[in-house]
Subunit: 515 residues, 2 copies
Amino acid sequence: MSRRGTERGGAEGRRAKRDIGRLKQLPFRQVTNPYPPMEIVSAEQIEAIHRASLDALQEIGMNFLLPEAREILKAAGAEVAADGPRVRFDRHLIEEKIKTAPAMFRMHARNPDHDLTFGGNHMNFCSVGSPPNASDIEGGRRPGNFADYCDLLRLTQSLNIAHLSGGYPVEPTDIEPDIRHLRAVGTLLKLTDKVGFGYSLGRRRILDAIEMTRIARGISEERMLAEPSLYTVVNANSPLQYDRPMLWGMIEMARRNQPIVITPFTLAGAMAPVTIAGALAQQNAEALAGIAFCQIVNPGAPVFYGGFTSNVDMKTGAPAFGTPEYAKAVLIGGQLARRYAVPYRSSNVNASNHPDVQAAYESQISTWAVMLAHTHMVKHALGWLEGGLCASFEKVIIDAEILQNVAEFLRPVEITDATLGLEAMRDVGPAGHYFGTAHTLERFETAFYQPILSDWRNFETWSEDGAVDATHRAHRIYKEILADYQEPPMDPAVAEELDAFVERRIRDGGATAEA
Amino acid sequence: MSRRGTERGGAEGRRAKRDIGRLKQLPFRQVTNPYPPMEIVSAEQIEAIHRASLDALQEIGMNFLLPEAREILKAAGAEVAADGPRVRFDRHLIEEKIKTAPAMFRMHARNPDHDLTFGGNHMNFCSVGSPPNASDIEGGRRPGNFADYCDLLRLTQSLNIAHLSGGYPVEPTDIEPDIRHLRAVGTLLKLTDKVGFGYSLGRRRILDAIEMTRIARGISEERMLAEPSLYTVVNANSPLQYDRPMLWGMIEMARRNQPIVITPFTLAGAMAPVTIAGALAQQNAEALAGIAFCQIVNPGAPVFYGGFTSNVDMKTGAPAFGTPEYAKAVLIGGQLARRYAVPYRSSNVNASNHPDVQAAYESQISTWAVMLAHTHMVKHALGWLEGGLCASFEKVIIDAEILQNVAEFLRPVEITDATLGLEAMRDVGPAGHYFGTAHTLERFETAFYQPILSDWRNFETWSEDGAVDATHRAHRIYKEILADYQEPPMDPAVAEELDAFVERRIRDGGATAEA
């Protein structure tokens, strides 16, 4: 065990780089999980899911809606229907092709201090991605817009526990769809220097995102090939279908060695069987087909096994998140990803309509499951509300606290003669106290985690100070962070090149999902 | 795996006995944890804590403030100081004596349907115990009183996920101290038929609690000896001291074969060393000395290894709960309890001043740690706020939801041909949906956990219905439960005998902690 990872080592580490403005936070660092993953089903049960998913791919197959994708699959030996989008896979083809997916890889940020490793026991937290609305408790809920988009990116940049962007933190719907990716990614690359993202919504758009990222990093195309620098999420259009824009994204990202997060959206009882086992079997079929497709396009291309299985409320059909079923699906998803030795993606989710107690306990259930599953990329880790329909500014802060707690929990307890403290017990003896002892004084400043949101003052002091609950404190904190935000530096020549690219492509009319 | 424990079996089980009035809840059942415990330190590190704690007991010793207890320890071979309360223990004496503590035992309730097993992979949830204040968001915070005491007991009785009482759910400070135990325990035994509790606050008081429990169960003294029927919690007066009232409780409860929960109160940085390792070493020393003492009094007496190590906020000295340090201490405490093969007690805690987001995430951190530690008795599982200074009516409901989620999470996923759902995938095919399929219709009513507090309606419906957040919904729910409460039946002759005992002992003047 290195000193760095232990109580004292980490405590020392905390002194550096933790503070941005008024926010006293943990320093930016990669979180690693030293504990074994939690396995809730047996190896035999994992094989049963594996077999069922290969049966599904062989007997039922999947629709690949892009002819170019079907040609690629046909050339690789898949059984492509003569008169439609259906592709069936021999189980051995799948098992053979997924073997080239790397178990671990690194992603490179504009700021090399923010480079990240995916795989092994690393854990990375993404800001929320893709909600159509944003809210705070002062301004209420509003349709996604560019101002909120920028503010949420500023929070992503300022919060050290946010390792990377998770897509547009809110959809800037006030920008025309055809040019939205240019304005959005161009701005993302300036307001943050963390690993970024591009949407697989057509060929032209993902190529634009790749090019903007290359420019922002100031590197050559060759170096981009060697250094994954942005990622995309590809959702199966469950059940058992990949649509055209997503397939274009897979093809272009895989060819350029940029990571693809293959994530079936398998809500048990809606787009997947009503049982967790069945939803996971379908998730696994869709994920394996997607991973195999990327590997056929470019053997060795970095991919994630994404799990997003949850259940619906059977009374209303509404999706439910942060449920017991979700936690089980996350953990079994981790077991499946390890079965295939592919980095795992899952999410910090909840279905609450307000940054309230429900949002907190559902998120906390998700977060422990995600941690125990050895998730490498935690999507929607900061700010998700309403099952993903809203990005909440207060929830960003609540989640930052929840995630800092996770990061601290994962630092091993140091057990040595000094920490066991027998000397201190001798000094204090029965019926004394430890407040002023040497053992305490040497350690008290950094002995324990200091929260950013939790208020541990007593009731009387808290009451006299206005009795502000945690949600309202989160509101104040996010406002302070925005007031203290500083844009990360960018070489003026690079900024100019990036701006020029964005403006030129906007003049060209941008791109549709079908371009 | 029995059908009973699986998705379908449990779902069937849910139909019985789940509902009380308007509350649609899970049925009363013992929760078992089928997953392995989480171990965050190695066996060697556990031995290091064990050795340090035995060193402390041998070199420093503990104060036992009751002369009778010192005589008992002297006769058993401990080194008792000639001129003071200090007792030192040879390590072999401790190791020898703790061997007779049972690894598993059953507790018997007034209603045999509510009998409980402690040990193995069983998990039992107690209502909150001992806060000096109570609150709800309508009435605010008030000093503990008998009316709130009764209402909190009614919630304990009505909520199936509350397995047993955890002490007085709020201190009824409007009853004179000398007669409080008579009125409080007498009332508890009538308002609930679940396993109850007596405080070790002197010899006479615990004997009264034992006798009232015997009368309420309508059994003989011999049968009480064979059937543990109430328990007590004994806190070390940390560091390294047991006071007189607690020692009387230990002696009388152990002699009568009633369970004693030995719980050092080791706040790292205050009553224990500022390191988690040191606080745990001291916890272990105090717990082992207490367990050994009980076994010396009555070999084979049922005891719990209690862990309550947390940290203080080093800025203010205020206790912090539900922290990363707390979670680690809970898990290592579980490892220590298993080392000694004694049932484990830990707690669902938080330090928030309001039933808000902080209360929820700190409680949820505690609850996952408690579950992963294989805690057999979870104290303060429902209703604790403010680091134990307040019982919150809304928090009872929030915790009930959190605990029901735990219970559901612990039901294994059933993986069979039927649940894997390949037939359903064939029926639906790519790009369809599962809402109306036979596989779904057969299962949808009981497929997933139905929450009592979470609201999964969409934002628009939730807003039109008043945009009520989870804390305010919890308020409504607790009021409904109280309105629907029905007192569990008691044989009129038993009730008469119980009333007569209480009134006679009150006429006698009750008892002080020194009686």
